[in-house]
Symmetry: D3
Subunit: 191 residues, 6 copies
């Protein structure tokens, strides 16, 4: 790990050049707010329709209205990515958990074993559901939804837990398939 790869992924798919205005503006906003352009965006930018479909779904799920807080959604993201051992997503979203919670150890626990964290009953039910949906989705049944309802989630919340869990099961696999590499800046953030 002495020298860092310069490319965002193992594939030779350069970004559209020049980028359309709307994309350039989106990247500028990232630079301003995050101090970096996440490599996942560069990875998709060889095809603007694909990039827009990805960011459209991402922004709705992770930043849009929901009964789940942004921290809760990021906790799901990291637990799913930890089960799938996705390098990119654990690094990037682990940083997000540290930042949003102000609790570096929480970010680490989501990566290492969420069962070791001191969680509320609501958080634990949410992460247990996400973990089961990730490892053995074909065994998820009414009892599992009932456990979420018992923990205080309504049907819209269940949809959102399912959607965030599903989304990271998608991106984990895309990232692993193409060897997506996280921006180095994430490692030191919010420690």
């Amino acid at each position: 790990m002495t020298t860092k790869p310069l490319q965002a992924t193992a594939l030779d798919l350069p970004m559209v050049d020049p980028l359309p205005d709307s994309t350039r503006k989106y990247f500028d906003v990232c630079m301003e707010k995050l101090g970096l352009i996440p490599n996942v965006l560069k990875a998709y930018a060889f095809d603007i329709a694909k990039l827009d479909a990805f960011t459209g779904m991402y922004n709705d799920l992770m930043l849009g209205d929901s009964g789940l807080s942004k921290l809760e959604r990021e906790m799901i993201a990291v637990v799913v990515s930890s089960i799938n051992r996705c390098w990119y997503c654990q690094v990037a979203h682990g940083a997000a958990v540290r930042k949003l919670s102000g609790n570096p150890a929480l970010g680490e626990a989501m990566v290492m074993n969420y069962r070791a964290a001191e969680l509320t009953a609501r958080q634990r039910a949410m992460l247990d559901f996400a973990a089961k949906l990730t490892t053995t989705s074909h065994e998820v049944e009414e009892d599992d939804r009932a456990a979420l309802r018992h923990a205080g989630f309504d049907d819209r919340d269940i949809f959102d837990i399912a959607s965030v869990t599903g989304f990271f099961n998608m991106t984990n696999r895309v990232a692993s398939a193409i060897d997506m590499r996280p921006n180095e800046e994430y490692h030191a953030q919010a420690r």
Copy 2:
């Protein structure tokens, strides 16, 4: 299985009423082309932003330009859904494989065990990659991409194989989480 559930899922999330014009038109096109409105669309229609994000990504991936034929993309869809044992996706996309290939047995083999099908070397490499990415994505490495290249796929194709595999790993989990039920019409199609 004597009486069929009337709802598209186990959640009580009714469709927006009335549907916006653009959605109604989209549903009309489905009715015309497929003879049905896929329940997955009804499941998302409680929130038009989510529905549009889903259909945007779906249409780009499964119907847009690609080095993979539509049949190849549907074959990946079924193999992934079979590993995850997703009832909705195996039914709906199994029908698509039968229709697109004109070979009912091929649709069944994708559901039951793709290794039993007589496949071209290209198809087999593609499905082996999709299967590994579904079950043990953290072990996918350069050798796996090399096997795809050896079978004739270029980097854009690899991106598309990864994206379709990832997408169904998402939708399989959303469908299982909310008990999404396939439209009955699929079962008898293209047998």
Copy 3:
């Protein structure tokens, strides 16, 4: 899958020629009742003692007296074969479930994920036992038998559930080991 293999299996073990009278009569009955001679019989017919031992056990188990209906026995057959992903047995016995139930979707659900079917409590208990016995037989204990008794099964029924589950765990492996190919006629039956 464009051209179909002519042989019943990957092994070069031709049928005894001429077949003994009793075997020929048995095959004639199959032709009459089923419209085909199941390839599994052709696969065993290189040795009439083996064929007779197989058909003897099969006919006793699947067609003989039992507290389980023929449909229930076929449902077990397909669920076991689905877990083991046996191409031959899923095709042949999936057709049997469709025929006996008059419910094509039930046959598909046994193949795809029996948990998605609307089952009676009795059927569900029976299939849960068969599934556990297939995947982790060493963990089956008195509690599992108690669950069957609670669902209304007596000790003879338990023996039959165990025997049918065991039998398909055998034939699935023989079929996969020698690449047994299902008769094409099955695919379109009872859709």
Copy 4:
């Protein structure tokens, strides 16, 4: 384990009484040759048709003509039963391996981890095939059969390896399902 159960299994299925003459003679032969009546026979003797189907298949497979020696067939039996952790079959067939080989350590190695035994290339190929067929039968393909042929087995031998492996995958499950208990005499035999 201080007191031994008197029944052959956990089910209340007493033997037919009186036993038919042919069965009594068969049991007498067992007593003479083995010094005991294997509990598996008592377990099936509540229904003579089932007992005869079982012994018919067993005797053909394990004692009939084959390119595999009786020791080789028993080695497969124990390796399969070890993977499935079947108490009855490991005890009874472990004793058979010790007896037939005159090598107590070989019987133990088949139970504990066949990879630790010093095996011929032929034996190793045979047991590797049996192990794969037991754990992941859906991944057995032409390459696996080729490995057996390379080790000197012909197509009839492959059929027999498959059949013995399949048979014990059946009986292991029947035995675990009904808690079949091995005759105590086996433990001390041929140590």
Copy 5:
């Protein structure tokens, strides 16, 4: 398995020569008490510091003061070694269970499937904990400790169950890594 390997392991790491006095005395005690010098000691004797660290921990754990009887500790040893399929440890500690219990069948059951043994509730709870800690340690939580307390174990006992389970998860892996071979004398002991 016709000829026995002369070396204790697959590595070429000869014992220190001459052995220090304290080691020689220790080996003499083994010879006197056990009739053999366990090969595991010879395997470590290329480095006396490593040998002493190993025997120090072993003797404290397996022979020192504890709320667990020596037989209970050996039962854990065999169950763990059976899950990990360690040839050396199953042979050596299986013999210890037979000797300490005077019950050969109990030794076999620990190797083959501890669930088949007739155990006290205390023994069963202890072995269930050891088995879970061996296969899925990351899922062990307060409920699992509560089950041990409910079966009569105190916190010191729990520490000892954890330590013995941990220790054999270590030695199983060292033994498998270097192909450690059990002394032949074990096989016939206490049958």
Copy 6:
């Protein structure tokens, strides 16, 4: 995770009081060199013989003479602990990898997925062996040792790789069994 537990573990096993002089000195050295007394030492300090056996083996393995560098041994420690998802060991030894390498990302990669790190062929072979020994030790055979030799390791090195891998498979399980909690100071070290 708002309030931190004060105890080192979930068990009520207080440290010997007063500690013997030698232990107090050892703890003073820890305080001086590490700025903390690792909770694992406090967990064992209810029984000084157990503490000494543990530290004796630990110090020999991790700090003693070896063909493996201290960093390499810590890399093994983290990869093993990551597979077992041990909270304590990933936190404590992840910090050690960051410190010894001066490369925070390397420490994270060992926790998240070592395959994503840019490793030398020697490091990769070492970690692949450790991973296989952790997950499927019963399948480790001569070929695996040959791969280590091919990567430049000699027999003594192989012993050390096996021993470090084994040791963390032990401590991971002890830590998970008793809910051992890492000192908070580790999280921010060497980021």
